[in-house]
Assembly symmetry: C2
């Protein structure tokens, strides 16, 4: 017979053991997320994506330590809607922001949308955004209103000032919701954002953290800090990219020094293709030169178009121990899928509105095929194209460029193009006439999706 004291002792012992057997936060903590979202970086701008002269040893290393995605899409080929899709996991039109915001725009990302930062904050993350926001530059819409504990950056694009954009609002660097620099020295931006991110990493290790690092560069006009000027064999643009690469190396070094490499999902990607089809107003105003835009590599089109060069961007993901090293995947996936994947990893609450993103963790960690069947290319209110793995149907305005999109009426002449993206990722050969069956099948998909999203379709 056991006496009560002994029984109590045993129960206590068993209880304590059970508690210790549970995985604690210390055993298996939620991963930190560093998400770099570079402005107008093109598919061909990094060494590991084939740039002929720009050197990016730190990003090449990141690719080698993780996965390089070669059919990774953003959900718009211009800034604001692409960022809206990343932040909500939803196509821009679904998220209520199909077009670009200007410096004087009212509102921003609709307040009934949940941002990635809000989702992560709910489950205990410390959150910070550094760099370009472009989802609202007025009270209630600023980063610190939308789930970020901290912010440092430009609220919109670095050219949104005279002589490039007509506005009386000065371009200012904000800390949280206040301007701190009246006259921004753009040569310092890449460094300032990086240092803020490093400070945040070093001072926030009690909770998991989410850093959204959205460099203002290489959006035009481009600037590198003094140490990087004139150094690259890739010219002025090369200087800017090589600085970004070098700053990535600084962050990786700090993660390593803090023992966080293994528990940090480090993502590097871009918001849309490069600005190669520069409007004439840019050419004629210093310090922009016509060759200051980035490169799509071999892809057609550029920023603002619904060819591959507008939507397909570099994407590197590193998470040692979880994502096997030295992978290259041509599986189709998107920025909205990153959103869904991060929610899953963090055990976030289910999204309040239907996600267009799909969890791609098995693709990253187990070489599983992409769960995504279709990707839709929007240009503002218009649904321009759809891709379903091999085939892409594009029914879009002939004058498909950055400036035309700002002034489209819907009556423009239309082009119907079918591309075999396996044999012809460069969109050189329109096979619409040879394959009416694919045109019909994909047109039906576009009609269906246009109906679902309330978007416009050209016929």
């Amino acid at each position: 017979m056991l006496n009560n004291k002994l029984l109590l002792f045993i129960l206590l012992f068993v209880s304590i053991s059970l508690v210790h057997a549970q995985p604690t936060e210390e055993d298996n903590p939620l991963p930190n997320i560093v998400l770099m979202f570079i402005d107008d970086l093109g598919y061909g701008d990094l060494g590991c994506y084939g740039h002929p002269t720009i050197r990016t040893p730190h990003l090449d290393q990141m690719a080698y330590e993780g996965i390089k995605l070669t059919s990774f899409y953003v959900a718009a080929s211009v800034c604001t809607p692409s960022r809206a899709a990343l932040m909500t996991g939803r196509y821009p039109l679904n998220a209520g922001l199909p077009g670009n915001l200007g410096p004087d725009s009212e509102g921003g990302l609709p307040l009934d949308e949940r941002t990635l930062a809000e989702a992560l904050k709910e489950v205990g993350y410390r959150t910070a955004a550094y760099g370009k926001w472009h989802l609202g530059a007025v009270p209630d819409y600023m980063p610190t209103d939308r789930g970020f504990d901290e912010y440092l950056g430009l609220l919109y694009s670095n050219d949104m000032m005279p002589p490039w954009v007509n506005t009386e609002r000065p371009l200012q660097l904000y800390r949280n919701d206040r301007p701190i620099e009246q006259e921004v020295d753009q040569t310092t931006l890449t460094q300032q954002y990086t240092e803020a991110a490093i400070d945040f990493i070093q001072s926030n290790q009690e909770q998991p953290f989410f850093i959204y690092l959205a460099h203002s560069m290489p959006h035009l006009p481009i600037y590198a800090s003094a140490d990087y000027q004139g150094k690259s064999a890739g010219g002025d643009y090369g200087d800017v990219i090589e600085e970004i690469d070098s700053r990535v190396g600084q962050i990786a070094k700090v993660l390593e020094a803090e023992g966080l490499t293994e528990n940090t999902l480090f993502i590097f990607t871009s918001d849309n293709g490069p600005w190669r089809n520069m409007p004439e107003r840019m050419y004629t105003t210093e310090p922009v030169e016509p060759w200051h835009g980035g490169s799509t590599g071999p892809l057609a089109g550029a920023k603002g178009t619904s060819y591959e060069g507008g939507f397909r961007v570099p994407a590197l993901l590193r998470w040692p121990g979880q994502i096997p090293a030295a992978q290259v995947s041509p599986e189709v996936c998107t920025s909205m899928d990153l959103h869904a994947t991060i929610l899953k990893l963090a055990g976030a609450q289910p999204a309040p509105k239907p996600l267009d993103g799909i969890d791609i963790l098995p693709l990253l960690t187990e070489q599983a095929p992409s769960p995504r069947n279709d990707f839709y290319y929007f240009s503002g209110e218009y649904l321009d194209a759809v891709r379903d793995n091999r085939w892409k149907l594009r029914i879009a305005a002939k004058a498909d460029d950055w400036i035309s999109h700002e002034t489209m009426s819907g009556d423009e002449p239309t082009l119907t193009e079918l591309f075999d993206l396996h044999n012809d990722p460069f969109e050189q050969f329109n096979l619409a006439k040879e394959h009416p069956e694919h045109v019909a099948r994909l047109r039906k998909k576009m009609q269906q999706f246009a109906k679902e999203t309330g978007s416009a379709l050209r016929e």
Copy 2:
């Protein structure tokens, strides 16, 4: 006092020690050379050079273990002269072969030129060539006449037969100087060449070896072997490149198994840019499809042109312990420099005629700058362009394509273009008007070099 016996003993001991202190062949043997020279592989065709969907894990690994060159030039943008320059270390016009040979051509590489194989054979190498030769298909000019102990391959291009080329000579696979297959099954070529190279490695380890592995693919018409057909997300062309990549992996594996990795300089490059500007005669004959040509990535032009896409090709060099890993270099160097470097490494006899190649070993092993000041772009007898690091001057026929070159009279309209290859590696912006000083300086260089080489110049 020492007696004589003891003195003798001491002298003997010292002598033996001295002999052992000398580096013997066993301590520091001459390196094996595996030189892969792929036919019409474009700058953008490999994963590590940014192809959007073709996967080349073995070549990516090779790049990571060695050096990737991003401003590496061949000396002609078509097959025969490019091969002549590699084999002699001299510009094609200097080596007496400025233009392509056909299946019925008499002669070949002039017999007073010394080939790389001859130079290496003189200092004790076993030598073998597998694949396309294209430097002479008649007695005295065959690979086994020009320094190769062994040969297996097609003596010229794999399209040099009806319906593509008008000839009565059948396309045949040769072993040494005899045809062994009357009807070539081109789907087997990549595999057959690879297996021959592997046999050679496994059975030749008494002497250092030099293997010249010049795949017939991906020259049109393209064929992959059964195991690789329909596998690549890069389509038909992707299948062919992924087979080549996989075969590179097989060779690397055999080198490793034989303990030769550390003592083998493994080089992978191409003979010229890809065949994208396909003549119409190719489009209309099965099994060639218009999208079967490779990619220049972001570079302008293609095979047969003097834009970058014709002359700049992928180049990977791996030599563990000698060439540091994970290097990417935008320094300007050439196939002729490879020749000179290999001669140096092998301690070969001085070249009997002046080399145009320069030893680049310090660039490969110590990150030294390129010793090369200028590179000259020849199109047949014409000197089309010069590059001196940043600037390229091009004075060439307007109709600069593959077929036009075969029929040029010299009276064609001319274009003068100046490109800043740092800011504009894509040759999009002609700065001839803005920088007459660079035009004048480089024009003088072209005039001087045209005089030296006896080449034609357009004005």
